[in-house]
């Protein structure tokens, strides 16, 4: 594992750890003003206060928790839908495959983030809508790649053997194709998690995230912009956290995809 991947792992561990422990680490309720607006850091408020006097540290760790869990949920939706479509295409026979490929290509003609925006337009703003939209928005791309992975696996002789032994399509799909494609799907899932994270924070940044009292990194980035010049840390902290997380997940997915020894 190279240096970049190690840093990436460290950062992801820190973010996930902070998010898991957020309820313990946060020192105040996230919505309550506990100091003067934009108060400087102090022992009581590690990072000072935001524009309404709420503890910034609390909002940052709880915001990370909410961004991470929202994008994880979205990624799960993407992966499940993508794998389902890919498997159906792979084992369903030629006609079903044609239909699935056609649908996937059709959806891919709309860039993923626009597709997500379109879905939020249909459902209406709010964090649950954002999760659903991002999850569905990433599914066509994942489905295409998953289908390729399954098709490659399908040519293996033991698959034909399993069919010959009278195994049903579902059984082959779940017992053989899926585990077989794991090595390819895992890094792919990582990449799509990074994508959902980007998608989720982008949609909330655009103001589609619902209740502003609930901290979330994308919304914090959006709201903090009105203090861009007198309190830049209000945007820099969530902004850098988002960027680092995406970079780190990308690096890890890259490292997963090439498990061999480092090139130098």
């Amino acid at each position: 594992m190279n240096l970049r991947a190690r840093f990436a792992l460290l950062w992801v561990a820190v973010v996930v750890g902070l998010s898991l422990l957020a309820p313990i680490l946060s020192r105040y309720p996230p919505g309550q003003p506990v100091g003067a607006p934009l108060a400087s850091p102090s022992s009581a408020m590690l990072l000072g206060a935001d524009e309404l006097g709420r503890d910034l540290w609390t909002r940052l760790v709880l915001g990370g928790r909410s961004s991470l869990s929202a994008s994880a949920l979205a990624a799960v939706i993407t992966v499940i839908l993508g794998i389902a479509a890919g498997l159906v295409a792979a084992v369903g026979g030629r006609q079903i495959d044609v239909v699935v490929v056609f649908l996937v290509n059709a959806a891919l003609a709309i860039p993923g983030l626009l597709l997500a925006l379109l879905l939020v337009a249909g459902i209406g703003p709010g964090l649950p809508a954002v999760i659903l939209a991002v999850g569905f928005g990433g599914a066509p791309g994942f489905a295409r790649l998953a289908r390729q992975a399954f098709l490659q696996g399908q040519t293996a002789t033991y698959i034909s053997a399993a069919f010959a032994l009278g195994a049903g399509k579902l059984q082959v799909a779940l017992a053989h194709l899926l585990p077989n494609a794991r090595a390819q799907l895992l890094p792919l899932a990582g990449t799509y998690f990074a994508w959902s994270f980007l998608g989720t924070t982008t949609l909330t940044f655009l103001g589609l995230g619902g209740d502003p009292a609930n901290p979330e990194w994308g919304s914090m980035l959006n709201v903090g912009r009105s203090h861009l010049f007198d309190a830049p840390h209000l945007v820099l902290l969530p902004g850098l956290a988002i960027a680092l997380t995406i970079l780190a997940v990308h690096s890890l997915a890259g490292a997963l995809a090439q498990p061999g020894p480092p090139t130098h």
Binding site: R4, F102, L103, N105, A106, A107, A109, I110, P111, G112, L113, L114, L115, L117, L118, L119, V120, A121, G122, I123, P125, A194, L198, T201, T202, F205, L206, G207, L208, G218, L221, R225, L228, F229, P232, V235, L236, G239, L240, I242, A243, I246, L247, H250, S251, H264
Partner: protein
């Protein structure tokens, strides 16, 4: 393209409910007028009839009317198009410049410090969201303006430089990667070894030889990036408060003005599929081998 239009149509219909109801709620129309409007828009017809009507309109270049301004969607979009085109054109130029130079530096001399720096920068460009990059650019401009006040002109709404650099940088990473990988491959390719043997000095001429096979990949990737460019304008226009199609899309989504949203998505799909077709053609021209094999 047709399929994308279809998806745009059904996604909004299935999730959206009756858009005229919100007009009634807002006092913009009476119940009777809403009924008339529904009939006019064909909303009381069966879904498939509506769909047929939508397709016929689409072929005639008619995307319907905005629910709020009652003006043709085509006009509404045309008004905002120049601003977004300027941004996209600037971003493409920046992306090509940054992407190819990062890729060349990182791919041609991967072991040097410069090469590794280029590699790291192109990794950053794919990871840093446009929103964050844009905010950083604004802060940097404001900081620079403290030393040289005239730098602030960069932040003016009419000035495309800062948004174009932001968006161009964000889209440059994938291009850099493609060029880099292509170069790395061709460095050891037989024709480069042969060229060296023929006495072509290492340096720019050889680089050009090595670069040529990497170009088709880079071009088709650039087209893929067009997708990102489209969604990137939405965020870029918001960060820099520029008017344009991205802002129009967000405000139409917030208002529930579904004909405008639908029109914009159809336009995006058209742009996206045509750039891809063009890129495929270009790739064949740039690397005749592709044409032979396919």
């Amino acid at each position: 393209m047709w399929a994308a239009a279809t998806i745009a149509f059904f996604a909004l219909r299935l999730a959206g409910g009756d858009p005229t109801q919100s007009l009634v709620a807002q006092g913009l129309a009476s119940a009777e007028q809403a009924a008339a409007l529904r009939a006019e828009l064909g909303l009381d017809a069966p879904l498939l009839d509506q769909y047929a009507r939508f397709l016929v309109g689409l072929i005639q270049g008619n995307l319907g009317e905005s629910l709020y301004t009652r003006r043709p969607v085509v006009t509404t979009i045309a008004e905002q198009l120049p601003s977004t085109l300027a941004l996209a054109a600037g971003a493409i130029v920046v992306s090509l410049l940054i992407g190819t130079s990062l890729g060349i530096v990182a791919g041609w001399r991967p072991e040097t410090l410069l090469g590794r720096a280029a590699d790291a920068i192109s990794a950053m460009s794919t990871g840093i969201p446009v929103a964050v990059a844009g905010i950083l650019a604004l802060l940097a401009a404001a900081a620079a303006a403290r030393v040289v006040p005239s730098v602030l002109f960069l932040t003016r709404a009419g000035n495309v430089a800062l948004p174009a650099v932001t968006l161009g940088f964000a889209t440059s990473g994938a291009l850099a990667r493609a060029v880099q990988a292509g170069l790395a491959d061709s460095r050891s390719a037989p024709f480069i070894v042969a060229a060296r043997a023929r006495g072509i000095p290492p340096g720019w001429r050889l680089l050009w030889h090595a670069l040529r096979p990497a170009l088709p990949v880079a071009v088709s990737l650039a087209a893929l990036q067009a997708a990102f460019l489209l969604s990137g304008t939405v965020v870029t226009e918001t960060v820099f408060s520029r008017p344009g199609l991205g802002r129009l899309l967000v405000s139409s989504i917030l208002q529930g003005d579904f004909p405008v949203v639908q029109g914009l998505v159809v336009l995006a799909a058209i742009l996206y599929t045509t750039t891809q077709a063009i890129a495929d053609g270009l790739a064949v021209i740039l690397d005749p081998r592709l044409g032979e094999t396919s």
